[in-house]
């Protein structure tokens, strides 16, 4: 009963998800075609003949509605087209080459953020209104309000100084490829989310500390460690799980600045460059891909929720 319910639930969410992705694709397509500017213009002016050939090559010579139909057809077949600016690369290749990098960085950042957020959040709740609480909450405010490009630049400078101090490369300043390359960028990327999760965790803990079932457990004489782990932490962590899905998507797609500063070959850079360059196919491809990714993560979280909180499964 509950199992078949679960499948129906997943199926429903998937169908909703497909509609959402279609909507994102459509909205992006028309928004993009209405953004002022001409993707085929470049520094050096070209003749009408060359321009016409470029238009034909990218199918821009057809009416927008026809382009839309062709685009949707290709999208269903999984063909995202060829990049305008990287003329010999398919958008599929760009995503395949660079998304894993963003994903690794993003997942690492999220784990870092989630582990840190739960840890610090729980700690501040336990030591509410005492000095660990004040110190951590001060850092949290800092973490939320300082933009990531500042944090990235400062931490890179710090790396240079650390390396200088030890007279050898302790941690690489930029680049990609080994464990050591990932640590600092992932921390920088996850910092904002960690701060946010810390606050979320703290308030969620405080609410549960004063709830009836915790008081009952205490009255029953349940050992404090068990109360903390089973009654408090497990309940308080639910809101954190809820925002984790969107956070993964947001972090994975929002790494542009960190990727730039640390010279990391992720997809974020391509996404931002594409918008600046009006690279239609890459804009469409990455937006739809990111959109689908976000929708997928939300579904995963909904399903995950059922496992963690028995109350959700009952409904």
């Amino acid at each position: 009963m509950t199992r078949s319910n679960m499948w129906i639930f997943i199926l429903k969410r998937l169908v909703q998800g497909i509609f959402t992705v279609w909507f994102i694709a459509t909205a992006t397509f028309f928004a993009m075609h209405n953004v002022p500017g001409d993707p085929l213009l470049n520094d050096r002016a070209t003749t009408e003949a060359i321009r016409a050939n470029l238009q034909a090559k990218y199918g821009l010579d057809k009416p927008v509605t026809t382009q839309y139909v062709i685009y949707l057809g290709n999208l269903v077949r999984g063909d995202l087209g060829i990049s305008f600016t990287q003329e010999n690369r398919e958008v599929n290749d760009i995503i395949r080459d660079h998304f894993p990098v963003s994903a690794i960085l993003g997942i690492l950042a999220v784990i870092f953020a989630a582990a840190g957020g739960v840890l610090w959040g729980a700690l501040t709740a336990i030591y509410r209104n005492r000095w660990p609480d004040y110190v951590i909450m001060f850092l949290v405010i800092l973490g939320i309000s300082v933009p990531s490009f500042v944090v990235a630049a400062i931490s890179q400078l710090l790396l240079v100084n650390v390396n200088d101090l030890f007279g050898t490369t302790v941690l690489p300043v930029a680049g990609w490829g080994t464990v050591l390359h990932m640590l600092v960028p992932a921390m920088v990327l996850g910092l904002g989310t960690m701060a946010y999760l810390t606050r979320l965790m703290r308030s969620s803990m405080l609410e549960i500390v004063s709830s009836d079932f915790v008081r009952t457990a205490k009255a029953k004489g349940v050992p404090p460690a068990r109360i903390f782990a089973k009654h408090q932490l497990r309940n308080a962590i639910l809101p954190v799980i809820t925002v984790l899905g969107p956070s993964i998507a947001a972090i994975t797609t929002g790494g542009f600045v960190v990727e730039l500063v640390f010279a990391i070959p992720g997809l974020g850079r391509y996404f931002v460059q594409a918008v600046q360059q009006l690279d239609y196919t890459v804009i469409m491809g990455t937006t739809v891909f990111y959109g689908a990714f976000l929708v997928f993560m939300v579904i995963v979280v909904d399903v995950l929720y059922g496992f963690i909180d028995p109350r959700v499964r009952m409904e």
């Binding site: 500017g37 213009l41 050939n53 004489g221």
Partner: protein
Amino acid sequence: MAVTDTPIDSEESFARSAGKQLAIYALYALVLLASLIYVFSLVAGRTGSGTSGGAVDVANNSVTTTLRQEPPQLDAGRSTDASSFVVLAHVMEGLLAYDDNMQLIPGMAERWEVREDGATFWIRDEALWSNGDSVTAHDFEFAWKRVVDPDTASEYAFILYPILNAEAITQGELPKEMLGVQAVDDQTLEVQFAQPTPYFDKLVAFNTYLPLQQEFYESTDGRYGADAEYMIYNGPYVVEEWIHGASMLWRKNPTYWGDHKGFLDEINAAYITTDINAKLNLFKDGQIAETQLLAPMLPEAMEKRWQIDRVMDGTVFFLEFNHREGRITDNWHFRRAMQLAQSSDELVYKVLKEAAYLPAVSLFPVWIQGLNDIFRTEYPPIEHKLNVQLAREHLEMARQELGLEEFPPIVFLTGDTPISILSSEYYQELYKQNLGLEIRIDVQNFKQRLAKMTSGEFDVVVAGWGPDYDDPLTFGDFFASWNLNNRGRYNSPEMDAQVRIAQAELDPKKRLDAFGEIQRIVYEDVTLIPMYERGWAFVVDPRLKGFKRRSVGPEVDFNFAYIEEVED
């Protein structure tokens, strides 16, 4: 039921045991994180920049550097961006090339002859592609015909227009076989001109004129230049490895004919980033061999006693007027008023404050060569003096000529880079104070600014122009009425006449006189207002010698670079 001996209402003890539990969880998380990072690093190793031997690796005779962006593709016939030009300058060679002092030297051609009606190039026997095949005249004929083919849609096709029929072919009016270039035999390339082109030797050193082997090109099935394995090379280096978006490795090309270039075994472009701060950090950490320095970085660089060098990057920035009929800026008195009310010295020294920038005084930048000396030494630009009084008089004359009660706001179209916005705001204040004019700044991104420039939706646009080849004409023909880059549609028979002389005159002195005239017309007719010439301060690892940054051609040049150990 187990009874704990601690009172249940004790906050202190609860906190302690909860904290212990939390510490255990944290330990679990740490172990999980460590193992995850390990797994990720195995995956990432396949997409990364790999190991690098630091800025200068004496033992392996290699250097590490950066690229400003991922080359979109390395098909020379279609490349348009600075990054691709840098790579191509190291892995390919044209008929002619430049030495380390920007003098033309033989490349693939061991001899050449430029005549009034055409040119002949004799290609050297020992010129080889990296696959061992000979580089022949046919490779040039094939490459050039492909560039002008409208199906190729090369944005740089215009640079082949001096060749007979090139323009008509790009317009689709003639078949590409009609292009005035022919391989007489494997060694001899004959070119016919559309009109006399005395600077043709300089043109063939440009990227769009690079050769392409037909057989190899066809074997790539339209993917030529997309990846390292879809290319063959005839320059001093080859692209050994190209990890998109991450890094590129160039290795010495064993089949390269000469021994005057390519002294390094390996050049590792290990980082792709535009972030100058990140590059400086990499340099400080000993990871890259050279980097640019912005003004705020100079004090630290001097403190560290780095050897700081500077170079003009070749580009001239200027206020370009909209000369279309009906525009206020079509009025000469109005333009003259704007010219007289400003001075580029103030812009550069008091506003932009970039040490390596120069106030621009002409359409022609400071480094352009003349006959025997620097062009601007031989043909000094008219000296400009700020004269607000005279400017106001001209403004009044403009107002009367245009029959206006009051001037409407002047639309200043500008790009979205910090420096163009800063400049625009400076002019906004300046013209308000000096002339009482209201400037409306229209900030647009790159593509939209170009769109508005092309359609003429501006009065003044903050624009710039960089050189393609080392001849004054690369700037000199900018304001010809037929030049599509003349987006302000300046149209003057006097200018056109001088550009025609500059293009076709065979006597070098008379040809340079024409450029002198163009320089004068640009000032007197106020075709534009020069702003600044962009330059860079940069620092190079002391062990790396012969490295160049250039005003024209590749912005960074390792062709003549070699390593020399420094005694401490």
